[in-house]
Symmetry: C2
Subunit: 699 residues, 2 copies
C-alpha cells in the first residue's frame, strides 16, 4: 500500500494536474530538492538563499561561502563566483556580500531549470553592471496604478502595517531572482501623503519584508510636500524652513528604514510642482534633497521628463532644460532620463541628453508596462527595444537602470502571461546589459513553460542518457517548437507592434487619455498642441512626419555629429526614423524602392500579418503548454489581431485623405469605415485595460 | 452664346456629373436618340416601345411591325424577329403580338448598350421558354416586406388608387426590359384584406399601370379568406358556400382587372390555413380555386412548401405530400416548388419533387432576395445557383419560373447595387434558361457600369475607328478590368458564400428569426426541432451532417436511380452535398484527400479569402465607376469581409467542440471567442438588414 501511495504521489508530483495560472512566474522549480546545502553564516538573507537551494536544487552539495578576499571584493558585494570543485562533487558560491550569495543561489537554480550549462564544470563569475537596478511603481495610494493593466497596486495600504500579504515576499523573491535590488513603490505623480508618519510606518513594513531579499525601498515625492504636508507657505528649495522640513522628514524616514534608498522626483512636468515654480533650477531642487539624504547615503533620482507647452518641438525640451545644468548636481543625484526624447513610443531614437552631461550621473528609465504598446492585451517582448537603446548609449556611461513596472494584483502579476518576460528581461539586462535579447527570451521561455516532461528530459540528459532521448521524437520536437518558434515570435513582436501602430518613425498617434487604440485625427479643442497626434505626424497634402532636421526644429543637432548628419539628411536617414526626423513627401523613395505612402501601407499590413503568424505559432504549442495559460495567451492574441487591423485601417484610411493615394492593391483591404472608427470612444481610465466586450462593442 | 451653351450642354451631357445612385438599374441609356422609329399600329404598349427607341436608339431607322404570319405565329405573341435589311439601312422588329415588339425594342437597345453584336447584320429570333415569367413580392399591406432588405413595399396602399407613384411605371418598365410578364404583388403569408373591394380597387390601379408593359397582376390569397373576409363558418373547398364565395370574388376581380392572372397559394404551411384543415387535399383546395378562375383563363399557382413538425426529415415532406397527388390537379393549376427540398439554402440539391409528377404542371420558385445569403450586405450573384438547378431539372419540364423579389423603395431598388444583377438574371433566365450565367453577368455589367467613356468607345468602334482605340490603352485596360475581373468576381461569389457559411452540404445554420449570421448552437426551448440548426447539422463526437441515405431518412430514394446511388453511397456522394446526405465522421476522407474536418476548415477560410479578393478587385475599379456606387459597394464588401470571418469563426469554433480536432495550422486563426459569438443577438426583424453600427456593436 505504501509503495502504491508513493507511486501515486510520484506520478502526481511528476505530472502536476493543477492548472498553471502564471503566479509562479519563471520560478516554477519543482520543490523536491534533495541536496545538502551549507552556509558559513546565518542571517535572514542567507537563510532565504539556503532554503531556495534546499527546496529545489537536485545536484551535488552546495556551499554558500561569505568571503572577503581579493577576488570576491573585486566582484563586489552583489557579485559572486560559482564553481564546481575539481572532482565535480560539490559546488561553491562565494561572495563578499550576502546579496551576492543570494543572487548566486538563484543563478544556480536558473542553470538547473534551463539546462544550459554542464553543471559538472561550472566556473562562473558575475558582477552586476549597475549598483542600482530599480523598479518604479506608478502606484497610487488608492491602489489604482497609473498606466497599470494587471490589477491594483500590490500595496494594501489599509491593511499595512499590521497585515502583510504573502505577495510582498513573493514579489521580493521574484525580483531577487533576477537581481533587482531597488523599488520605488509609489507614483511619480506623487501624493504627499506617502511621507506622512502614518504612511511611513506602512512603508517601513514593506521595507522590512524586502530587506532580506536585497531590495531597498525608495519613494517618489511631491515637491510641494512641505506645503501640502508641512503647512509651509512655500516649497522653495532654498528656503530655510523648507530645507529644514526635508531634513527632518528624511531623518524620520531613516529612523524607520535605516537602508532607505532615497527619492525619485518628477518636478515641473505635466503639472507637477517643482523648484521652477519658485524660480529655482532643477539642480537647486535636486541638490537640496540630495543634501538631506546624503548623511544616510541616500540618493536622489531626478527625472528629466520635462516639456513646456509653449516651446516648439517637445523632443528637444529635456535636452534644452537639462544639458545646461551639467556639473551642477550633487554627487548623489542621478538624472533619470526616459530612453527616448518624447515618451516611450514603440520606437524613438535615443534621447540625445544621454552623453550630453559628462559631469552628471545619468540613468535610463525604460517602461515595462505597455502604456503605448497594447496594455496587457498585446504580446510585445521589449528586450529588443532596450537592446536597441544600448546600441546607441554605452551601458557603462550610465549609473543605473530603472523600469516602470507592469506588476499588479492579477494572479499572474502582469496581466498578459508574456508581459512577465519584460519584467524578467529588465532584471537581467539591469544585471548585464550585454546579454542578448534572444538569450534572455530563451531563459525565460524555458523557465516559464518548460514542462515536467522536458525537465525530466534534461535530467536524463544530465545523467548521460542521451541515446534514450534522441529516439523520443515527440519530446525533441516539442523542445524545438517551444524554443525556436516562440523565441522567434518574441523577437519579432516588438517590430510587429511598431509596424501595425506607428511605423517608419511615426509616433504619438494613440487615443486621447487612455492611450489604447489609434486616434491620429484626435482634436480636442483647447488641449495642449503637443498632446495632439497631428503635432507629431503633421500629415498634409505634401507629406507626413515631423521635420526635426536643420530645415525644421533642428533637433538633429542635439545628436553627436555622425548621427546628426545621418539623421539630418533625408536620403541617409534610416527608414525606421524617417518620419521622426523629416516631413517627407508622400512619394519620397524609401530604401525599399517604394514610395513613402506605399511603404507605410506595407508596414501596417505587415504588422497585421505578423500578429496572425503569432496566433498560428502559439496554437502550435497547444499540446505543450498548460491549458489555462495556453487559452489565456490565445485569447489575447485574438484581441491583438483585431487591434492590429483596427490600427492599420484607422491610420491608412485617415492618412489616405492627405496622401490622396490608394492602398497598393496586393495589400489586404480595410474592413472598417473611417467615420465609424472616429466614433470609437473606449470607456476606460488610465489604469484600465479594455476588455474584449468593450472592444467588441466599439469596433 | 448659343454655341457656348450648346457646347456646355454637350459636355454635361456626354460627361454626366450627376451622381449615380443606381436608380436607373441596367437602363442607363443616354437619352439622345435620334433615329426614325416607325410602327404600323398605335397602342399604349406600342407607344412605349416606340418611345424607348426614339429616346435612346442611335442607329439606323427602326420599324416595329405587328404581323400575323407563319413565322411570327411560330414565335408566339411574346416572341419576335429582329433583323437588319440587306442593305443595312434599316432594322425591323416583327411579332405576332404587341408584347413581342416591346421585348424586341428592349432587346435592340440592350444590343446597343452592350455592343455585343454587329448591329449592321442582325438576324435574331427570340421566343420565351416560359409563358409565365413571374415575380413574387412578399410584401405586406403595412408595407413591410418579409425577407425584404431594400426598403419598404413599393405599393403605397394608402395613396392608391388615386395617387400613382412614378415608381410603378419604372418598375414595370424594368421588368419589361428583361421580359418579366407577371407579378404577385402581396405576401404568400397573405392577409385576406387584399381581396376586399377597397384593396381590389388599388390592385386594379396597379394593374392598369403594368398592362402596357406586358405585365399581368396576380395575388396571393389566404385560404381562409371566406371566413376572415366573407364571414363564412368554414373555408372547406368542397363547401358550396365557400365555392360560391370564391366564384363571386373572382368575378369581382375580373370585372376590375380583365386580364388578372390568378392566385398564388401557400396553404397548410408554417401555420397558414389550407384545405388540410378541413380534411381536404391540396388538390381539392387548388382545384376549387382553379375552377373559379378558369372561365377567365386564370391560373392557380399552388405552393408545395409544406413540412409538418411531427414528421421525420423535413426534406422529404413536400415529395411525400405532393407526389401522390400527381394527376389530380386541374389543367390550370401549376404546383410551385422551391428549387431545393428545404428552404433556399446557399446550396441544396434540387427538390426531387421535380419530375416526380409527370401528369402535373410544375414551376420552380427561386429566391432573388437574399434571406439566407447576407441580405443586402453581401454581394452574391445567384445565376450560377439557378443554372446549377437546371443541370438537374430540364427547363422544358417546367411550366413557369417564379422569383421571390428583392425589390423595395430603396433608391437603387435592391439595397446592394449588385443585387440588381439577380433581378436582371432572373428575368433573362426566365426568358431563356439556356443562357449562361457568365453571359448574363457580362450583359448586366456592361449596361449597369459601362460608363460614357466606354460607350463612346463602342460607338467609335462601331464607326470603324479601331485604330484610334487600340492606342488608347487606358480605355482598353479599363474595359478589360471591368469585364474580366468583375465578371469573375460575380461568378465566384455564390461559391464564396457557400464556403464561408455552409460548405460541403451543410445547411440551416443561421440565426433564429431574422436569419442573419451564424447560430449553429441555436437552441430555443420548445421550438420546432426542424427550425433548429442542430436538426440539420447533427454534429456530435462521431461526425456531422444529416443521414439522408438508406441508413438514415432515405431521402436519397426520392431521387431518380442514378442520382440516388450517387448520393446514397458516401464514397461517391459529391463533396458539395456530403453533409446534406450523410452523417460523416470527422476523419472521413474527402475527394481532396483531406479529412472532413480539415476540409471544412479550408472551405470556411477559403470563403473568407475569396471575399477579401473581391474587395481587392472592387477597389481596382475605382477610377472606372461613379463614386457613389463605388463607395456603396466598397462599404458593403467590408461588412461582408467581417461577416465571413464571423461565420467561419462561429462555425469552426462551435464544431470543434464536437470534432475535438484543431484547425489546420496553415489556416488563419479565429479572432473571436465562441462564448462572445453566442451572445450576439441582432435587434432586427425579418425585414430589416442590419446596419454597420448594429454589427459593430454586436461583434
Amino acid at each position: 500500500m505504501k509503495k502504491l501511495l508513493s507511486l501515486l504521489f510520484m506520478i502526481c508530483f511528476l505530472f502536476p494536474v493543477s492548472a498553471e495560472n502564471g503566479s509562479r512566474l519563471w520560478l516554477r522549480y519543482s520543490t523536491d530538492g534533495n541536496a545538502t546545502i551549507s552556509c558559513n553564516k546565518q542571517s535572514p538573507m542567507l537563510g532565504i538563499a539556503a532554503t531556495e537551494l534546499r527546496r529545489a536544487w537536485k545536484g551535488v552539495p552546495v556551499t554558500l561561502s561569505l568571503q572577503r578576499n581579493k577576488e570576491t571584493r573585486a566582484l563586489g558585494e552583489e557579485g559572486y563566483r560559482l564553481f564546481t570543485s575539481d572532482d565535480g562533487r560539490k559546488i561553491t558560491i562565494t561572495s563578499a556580500g550576502e546579496r551576492g550569495l543570494l543572487y548566486g543561489a538563484f543563478h544556480l537554480l536558473r542553470l538547473q531549470d534551463t539546462g544550459t550549462e554542464n553543471l559538472s564544470k561550472l566556473n562562473i563569475k558575475e558582477s552586476p553592471a549597475y549598483n542600482l537596478r530599480i523598479l518604479n511603481h506608478w502606484d497610487n495610494l488608492d491602489r489604482s496604478i497609473e498606466r497599470g493593466y494587471a490589477g491594483r497596486s500590490l500595496w494594501d495600504w489599509e491593511a499595512l502595517p499590521s497585515t502583510l500579504s504573502d505577495r510582498y515576499a513573493d514579489y521580493a523573491r521574484a525580483n531577487a531572482s533576477i537581481g533587482i535590488n531597488g523599488t520605488v513603490i509609489n507614483n511619480v505623480n506623487a501624493s504627499s501623503q506617502i511621507l506622512s508618519t502614518e504612511y511611513l510606518e506602512k512603508v517601513k513594513a514593506l521595507a522590512d519584508v524586502f530587506r532580506p531579499y536585497g531590495i531597498r525601498v525608495y519613494l517618489s515625492i511631491n515637491f510641494a510636500s512641505p506645503m501640502q504636508l508641512g503647512g509651509l507657505a512655500t516649497a522653495d528649495p532654498l528656503d530655510k524652513e523648507v530645507i529644514a522640513w526635508w531634513k527632518n522628514k528624511t531623518k524620520e524616514i531613516y529612523h524607520l528604514i535605516p537602508d532607505f534608498g532615497g527619492f525619485l522626483v518628477k518636478a515641473n512636468s505635466e503639472g507637477q510642482p517643482g523648484p521652477c515654480d519658485f524660480n529655482r533650477t532643477h539642480a537647486e531642487g535636486a541638490n537640496m534633497l540630495a543634501d538631506a539624504v546624503k548623511p544616510y547615503k541616500g540618493i536622489i533620482m531626478w527625472r528629466a521628463f520635462v516639456y513646456s507647452p509653449s516651446d516648439a518641438d517637445r523632443a528637444k525640451q529635456a535636452y534644452l532644460e537639462f544639458q545646461p545644468l551639467d556639473g551642477q548636481f550633487r554627487d548623489n543625484v542621478i538624472v533619470q532620463i526616459k530612453n527616448g526624447p518624447v515618451d516611450f513610443q514603440p520606437r524613438e531614437p535615443y534621447s540625445p541628453l544621454f552623453g550630453a552631461m559628462p559631469k552628471t550621473a545619468q540613468m535610463v528609465e525604460f517602461q515595462i508596462t505597455q502604456e503605448y504598446l497594447g496594455f496587457s492585451n498585446h504580446l510585445v517582448y521589449l528586450a529588443p527595444m532596450w537592446k536597441e537603446f544600448f546600441d546607441f548609449v554605452q551601458p557603462s556611461s550610465l549609473k543605473a537602470m530603472a523600469g516602470v513596472a507592469n506588476i499588479g494584483t492579477d494572479a499572474n502579476w502582469c496581466g498578459h502571461p508574456f508581459a512577465q518576460s519584460n519584467w524578467y528581461a529588465f532584471g537581467r539586462l539591469a544585471w548585464n546589459p550585454e546579454l542578448s535579447a534572444e538569450a534572455i527570451a530563451e531563459e525565460w521561455l524555458k523557465q516559464t513553460f518548460f514542462n515536467e516532461e522536458l525537465r525530466m528530459k534534461n535530467e536524463e540528459f544530465g545523467k548521460g542518457n542521451e541515446e534514450r532521448l534522441q529516439s523520443d521524437i515527440s519530446i525533441n520536437s516539442s523542445f524545438l517548437i517551444l524554443h525556436s518558434s516562440l523565441k522567434q515570435l518574441m523577437m519579432q513582436s516588438r517590430e510587429a507592434v511598431v509596424d501595425y501602430m506607428m511605423p517608419l518613425g511615426l509616433h504619438h498617434l494613440f487615443a486621447w487619455g487612455h492611450h489604447y487604440g489609434p486616434e491620429p485625427w484626435c482634436d480636442i479643442p483647447g488641449a495642449r498642441p503637443d498632446w495632439m497626434p497631428s503635432y507629431y505626424h503633421k500629415a498634409d497634402k505634401a507629406g507626413i512626419g515631423f521635420d526635426r532636421s536643420h530645415t525644421g526644429s533642428n533637433a538633429t543637432a542635439q545628436y553627436p555629429d555622425s548621427l546628426c548628419h545621418l539623421y539630418d539628411d533625408i536620403s541617409t536617414c534610416p527608414d525606421e526614423y524617417l518620419l521622426w526626423f523629416h516631413h517627407a513627401p508622400w512619394n519620397h523613395t524609401m530604401q525599399s524602392g517604394r514610395t513613402l505612402w506605399d511603404e507605410l501601407c506595407y508596414r501596417y499590413d505587415k504588422g497585421v500579418q505578423q500578429v496572425r503568424s503569432f496566433q498560428r505559432i502559439w496554437d502550435l504549442t497547444e499540446n505543450y503548454i498548460d491549458t489555462e495559460r495556453f487559452k489565456d495567451v490565445q485569447s489575447r492574441l485574438k484581441i491583438q489581431a483585431r487591434d492590429a487591423v483596427w490600427w492599420k485601417d484607422a491610420c491608412l484610411l485617415y492618412f489616405m485623405e492627405y496622401s490622396g493615394m490608394r492602398i497598393p492593391y496586393d495589400i489586404e483591404r480595410p474592413i472598417h469605415e473611417l467615420d465609424d472608427l472616429k466614433q470609437v470612444k473606449l470607456p476606460i481610465d488610465n489604469h484600465e485595460c479594455p476588455t474584449r466586450k468593450m472592444l467588441d462593442e466599439r469596433r
